[in-house]
């Protein structure tokens, strides 16, 4: 045990460098910053759209001037309307350039212009024209929100004018015209969704899926990064040991090979867990920022929430998966010659981590065909990528089956590693073995 402790301490001393500490802190800062940024964007997106309007239609006899005005007024809270709906007067028709200048002068990003002949055209049976002007600076994920709202405003104006037109043309009252436009009643509370044994109204699977996607999209990426980082650490460590010839010294010390292997795996596992925990903290801040935003679907309201025990299971699955990666890397590390060759040896691990990442970024376990489910189950890195969703939906059988599989996989890889550490391959390389020489001969003959 002393030997193991001694080895783990030495490995950690080598792994816990200033560089690795900086990278952990930077990643945390990045995620927390990302969370705040998204939160800020969300809040901005939830604010009423600040919009300007120039209504040229008031310059002559107008049938629909009041309709347009009252529709837009109705889109805002009366207490704050003047802050967000900026009505601009212009006695003369402005050019496009003048309109942009006017928007800039008034700090507006969106502006609607009602054509001077708007009412006249509609009265004569042709469509009235509305133009929208935008000044865009934010090209992020929420950059299109304002313009979407403006489209909605135009749609509302269209509806209101249509109602007015029906009242005028068909001589029906406003209730009848509303019925004529919408004979079917279907509102948000009319949607019912069954989740984890409970029926919820006011929510659709599409909204749940969208919220879920936004919260768990980053998980596979984080897992992939952690696995690639710890894999690279352990393979590089083996490459460095061989390059510096410290491995030969280590193997002649009075310590069992199992202890040496366990020391390396444990130390790298702890580093992996530190990376994982750092990413989790960052991700928590990121998720919190998203779910805390007003108007966003709060999955907790629908029973889709991770309890502390679920987070513990998540960490356990993640740790088991990291151990699998380390076991595989130790096996690959046995074949590296030096630090340089170690870098290329991380490729198989990267590929194995990337496949489930792409799969689980866009789909979930239940939507996969059986063959794909089998492949995903066999790859031990899939399990931490899907564990959160599975826990939220109460699929504990899959979670625990995955956990047991990962532990068994890790044990097997450790045993294979110990076997390799007891063989000549570690020092003389694969090329000096019978199989290696046979392959070399075959290659030459080829």
């Amino acid at each position: 045990m002393n030997n193991l402790l001694n080895l783990v301490k030495k490995e950690l001393r080598e792994l816990m460098t200033i560089e690795s500490a900086i990278s952990i802190v930077v990643v945390m800062i990045l995620f927390v910053g990302l969370g705040f940024m998204i939160s800020d964007q969300n809040e901005q997106a939830m604010e009423p759209v600040r919009m300007g309007i120039i209504n040229y239609d008031d310059q002559g006899p107008s049938t629909y001037y009041d309709t347009v005005n009252s529709t837009l007024d109705g889109m805002y809270d009366s207490a704050t309307r003047d802050q967000y709906l900026i009505k601009l007067d212009s006695p003369a028709i402005l050019s496009d350039g003048e309109i942009i200048s006017l928007m800039q002068d008034n700090g507006l990003s969106n502006l609607l212009v009602i054509d001077p002949n708007f009412s006249e055209n509609i009265d004569s049976g042709t469509q009235g024209k509305i133009k929208a002007y935008y000044i865009t600076e934010n090209s992020g994920a929420f950059g299109g929100i304002d313009s979407d709202s403006v489209q909605g405003f135009v749609s509302a104006i269209n509806g209101a004018v249509s109602t007015k037109l029906m009242e005028n043309e068909l001589s029906v009252d406003s209730a009848e015209s509303a019925f004529l436009k919408s004979p079917v009643s279907f509102n948000m509370p009319d949607n019912y969704t069954y989740i984890n044994g409970k029926l919820y109204s006011d929510i659709t699977p599409s909204a749940i899926s969208g919220a879920m996607m936004s919260q768990t999209l980053m998980v596979p990426i984080i897992i992939m990064i952690v696995i690639m980082v710890v894999g690279s650490i352990v393979i590089s460590s083996m490459g460095t040991e061989k390059e510096n010839k410290t491995l030969e010294t280590l193997l002649t010390l009075p310590v069992k090979r199992t202890t040496i292997v366990s020391g390396k795996i444990l130390a790298s596992g702890i580093m992996g867990l530190v990376y994982g925990a750092a990413y989790m903290v960052g991700m928590y801040a990121y998720m919190d920022a998203i779910t805390a935003s007003a108007g966003a679907v709060n999955l907790a309201d629908y029973g889709l929430v991770l309890e502390p025990i679920d987070w513990a299971i998540t960490m356990l699955v993640m740790f088991a998966s990291i151990l699998c990666a380390l076991g595989l890397c130790m096996i690959l590390g046995a074949f590296v010659k030096n630090y340089k060759s170690a870098q290329t040896m991380t490729l198989p691990i990267s590929v194995l981590a990337m496949i489930p990442m792409f799969v689980f970024m866009f789909t979930s376990w239940n939507t996969l065909p059986a063959a794909m489910q089998a492949i995903m189950f066999i790859i031990p890195f899939s399990h931490p990528m899907m564990v959160m969703q599975n826990l939220m939906f109460g699929d504990y059988l899959l979670v625990f089956a995955g956990l047991i599989y990962c532990i068994a996989f890790a044990v097997v890889t450790v045993l294979v590693t110990v076997k390799l550490y007891n063989s000549d391959i570690l020092l003389v390389g694969f090329g000096q073995t019978r199989l290696g020489r046979m392959l070399a001969k075959f290659k030459k003959a080829d």
Binding site: R13, E14, L253
Partner: protein, 244 residues
């Protein structure tokens, strides 16, 4: 009493026989030299003796323990210093010695063993510098200190002065003499015939995986009518080449 006994040992790498039935023994307190041209099988022999690689056939006994079946016991008795060996570059000389000492002792004994290593290395204040700032000579001193501070019964050194300048090589040879005087049995391999002649009590020469001669430097010089061991080496290799 014999510290090392090598009996008819063979080593195969696939279909290639790197060591072909070698046999020799090293007595307690002796400095034994293993010499031979590049690729002769010296390092393979040393690696088998130090439990690093398996033996295809034959037997090796170190301090009474069988290398094939009692590897853990063998490793408690030996200290192996590979050719061009290094230390963990991010550790200081002191932490490296403490790390190694931790495998042999506990608590206060670790401090004593570490201090012994520091004394042997004789690096002054630089013992607290990181290993990656050491010169080759300093690194070699640290590694010899690492190998000897544990008071092994048997030290195995592969090309111990390889790549060192005259002064450093001289210092290291003096250090090896001191170690031998303290009762440690030493098996060393070297290409430096002057070093072997001045240090070793007995010598074995290996060529193409076979021991072609062994004895004291004086016996070998007399046998080949040579002025020094270098001449013995050249004549020995040539006689093997002519006979094949």
């Amino acid at each position: 009493m014999e510290t090392l006994r090598v009996d008819n040992v063979h080593k195969m790498y696939g279909n290639i026989e790197a060591v072909k039935g070698i046999g020799f023994s090293v007595k307690e307190g002796e400095i034994f030299g293993l010499i031979g041209p590049n690729g002769a099988g010296k390092t393979t022999a040393l690696r088998m003796i130090s439990t690093l690689i398996t033996i295809t056939s034959g037997s090796i006994t170190v301090c009474g323990y069988d290398v094939a079946t009692q590897g853990d016991e063998v490793r408690k008795s030996i200290s192996y210093l590979p050719e061009d060996a290094g230390a963990y570059k991010d550790l200081t000389g002191r932490t490296y010695l403490r790390f190694i000492a931790g495998f042999f002792t506990d608590n206060e004994e670790t401090d004593k063993m570490c201090q012994r290593g520091i004394d042997i290395a004789n690096l002054g204040d630089r013992i607290d510098s990181k290993v990656n700032t050491y010169s080759k000579g300093m690194m070699r001193r640290l590694l010899i200190a690492r190998a000897i501070m544990t008071a092994p019964r048997f030290a195995i050194m592969d090309e111990v002065t390889s790549g060192l300048d005259v002064m450093n090589a001289h210092d290291i040879r003096e250090l090896i003499r001191d170690i031998a005087r303290s009762g440690v049995t030493i098996l060393l391999s070297s290409h430096n015939m002057f070093e072997v002649e001045s240090l070793c009590d007995r010598v074995a020469m290996i060529n193409k995986g076979e021991i072609i001669m062994q004895g004291t430097p004086a016996e070998l010089k007399a046998r080949y009518n040579a002025k020094n061991l270098e001449e013995v080496f050249i004549k020995g290799v040539k006689s093997v080449e002519q006979s094949t």
